[in-house]
């Protein structure tokens, strides 16, 4: 079943010459985990805000379960749990209060809302924060609370804007585990924005990549990878003070100081490895294309 149908959507902010979303079309099926990737300013947040009816589109049409999102103001809130990218505080509520009131306002009875609060505290492993006020939480704790709030009342669709920002590796793993659990056990459709392409690869079933407001690629990671899969990824790790010498003709991309990535044809691998001066390297890794490569290929490079 089609959950979201985004057709030719455009949004230009006042005073801006370039549209933030530029004729974007996208379909999301029920039960999918869909990842939206793109650089800062690519239009990801604008697109999801249009999808949850917080931002009016200049052109195009977005339907949720076949009904335009702006037809009935309660249509999206009754079906979608949305976590915005930035939200400083849920008033001055404690964690337990925020979960209870959200579940109750999403239509659960008081008794069910209390049960839901306790289940969410356990699911998101924030039971020890139950009586803490949300403005007093750390960035990571607040992110988990907002994720728990988005999932309160078990909406069939979740739209999450950067769910793993501010989180340490252990909590990032928790988030991906919980999202996978909700998708598997309840069939929740999950749409999220992330910059964390490598970790998101573990859960993403389909991906869309935005660049300058345009959707430049959409599909299963395995299908999209075929475009770059003929290449292998050679990652070189070295001291930032002394760069290694590369065989002539290789194009390197600096991921960060002391870390280069080179894309190689299969046939060149042995030759290149034989020509590398291993004494100049701390480490090297060779693997096939990842979701991050797709992201970099489509989001960063001109088509």
């Amino acid at each position: 079943m089609l959950v979201y149908d985004v057709q030719d959507v455009v949004k230009t902010y006042p005073g801006q010459a370039r549209p933030a979303t530029d004729h974007v079309s996208l379909q999301i099926q029920e039960g999918e985990i869909f990842g939206l990737l793109g650089d800062n300013g690519a239009g990801k947040t604008t697109l999801v805000r249009q999808m949850v009816n917080l931002l009016r589109s200049d052109a195009g049409r977005i339907t949720l379960y076949g009904r335009p999102v702006n037809q009935d103001p309660l249509h999206v809130p009754l079906l979608v749990g949305y976590m915005p990218q930035e939200s400083q505080a849920l008033n001055n509520l404690s964690v337990g209060e925020a979960l209870f009131f959200t579940a109750h306002l999403r239509g659960l009875s008081r008794a069910d809302a209390r049960q839901e609060r306790d289940a969410l505290l356990e699911l998101w492993q924030i039971g020890d924060l139950r009586d803490k006020y949300s403005p007093r939480l750390s960035g990571g704790q607040r992110r988990l609370l907002r994720l728990a709030v988005a999932t309160a009342g078990s909406p069939p669709v979740l739209v999450l804007d950067e769910p793993t920002n501010d989180l340490d590796p252990q909590r990032r793993k928790l988030v991906w585990d919980v999202l996978r659990h909700l998708n598997r056990e309840r069939g929740t459709t999950i749409i999220f924005i992330t910059h964390d392409a490598i970790e998101a690869e573990k859960v993403i079933q389909r991906v869309g990549i935005l660049r300058d407001g345009r959707l430049v690629a959409v599909g299963r990671p395995s299908d999209l990878k075929q475009a770059v899969d003929r290449k292998l990824r050679l990652e070189l790790i070295f001291s930032p003070d002394s760069s290694p010498d590369l065989p002539p003709g290789l194009v390197r991309r600096e991921v960060q100081p002391g870390r280069w990535v080179v894309l190689l044809d299969w046939s060149d691998v042995m030759t290149v490895l034989g020509q590398l001066n291993l004494a100049q390297l701390d480490d090297f890794r060779l693997y096939s294309a990842t979701l991050e490569d797709l992201y970099l290929r489509y989001a960063a490079e001109p088509s």
């Binding site: 949850v52 009816n53 917080l54 931002l55 009016r56 949720l64 379960y65 076949g66 009904r67 999102v69 702006n70 037809q71 009935d72 103001p73 309660l74 249509h75 999206v76 809130p77 009754l78 079906l79 979608v80 749990g81 949305y82 915005p84 930035e86 939200s87 400083q88 505080a89 849920l90 008033n91 001055n92 509520l93 209060e97 009131f101 959200t102 109750h104 306002l105 999403r106 239509g107 659960l108 006020y133 403005p135 709030v149 009342g153 069939p156």
Partner: protein
Amino acid sequence: MPPNRRKPPPLLVQLVDLLLIELTNWRWSWRSLVITGVITPLLSVVALGFFARDSGRDTLAYVLTGSLVMSLMFANMGNVRSHFAYLRFMGALDYFATLPIQRYMLILAVVLSFLLLSLPSLVATALAGSLVLGVSITLHPAILLVVPLCALPLAGIGALLGFIARTPEEGSSLNLLVTMVLLGLGPVMIPPDHLPGTLVALGRLSPATYAASALRQALIGPVTGQIVVDLAVLAGLTIVIFWLVGRKMDWRQG
């Protein structure tokens, strides 16, 4: 077909939950409620009372009720303005916008919560002002209607400022300007015979004038037919202002 949607909660449930959520604002606002809701009006009572001490009971009654209007302005208009600005600029309005609630329930909950939170300040200002100025208070039952109807249009103006200001700083400046204009325009703190005719005439456009008049009658007396006019104007202004607030609320797009 979409999955079975839950029904949105009944309006009363929405209002009660949102009111309880909004009442938690006392956790951050109690200091400002005390400072602006009691101390500032009391300072004005003392200062104006000192100048007006030989001007008679009527003038002192204006000073007292004008200070009460000032207290309501700070505790309702100012706090509602800053709260809606906070909701807008800190992204918290998105939280409410993505819940199955009606926008007017949220506006009503915010306004009611600050009205409830302002009552202690109002009582403290009235008692202390009465003692300082030596004006005796005789409560008329109409006070139960007068206080909410005085607070609501002021809170509505605050909500409007919270939604139209482009930045929190701009909202704060606008709030100060409107407070000064409303207090200075018309016989709010000063009797009409001490004011230029133009100001008295312009005061007929200000909710503060009608609020001060209604408070004066319900607290000090005598209650005349004017209170019906005052309450009718305040009720009418409340409806118009809240209609405007609903239109200006940066909320869902549907």
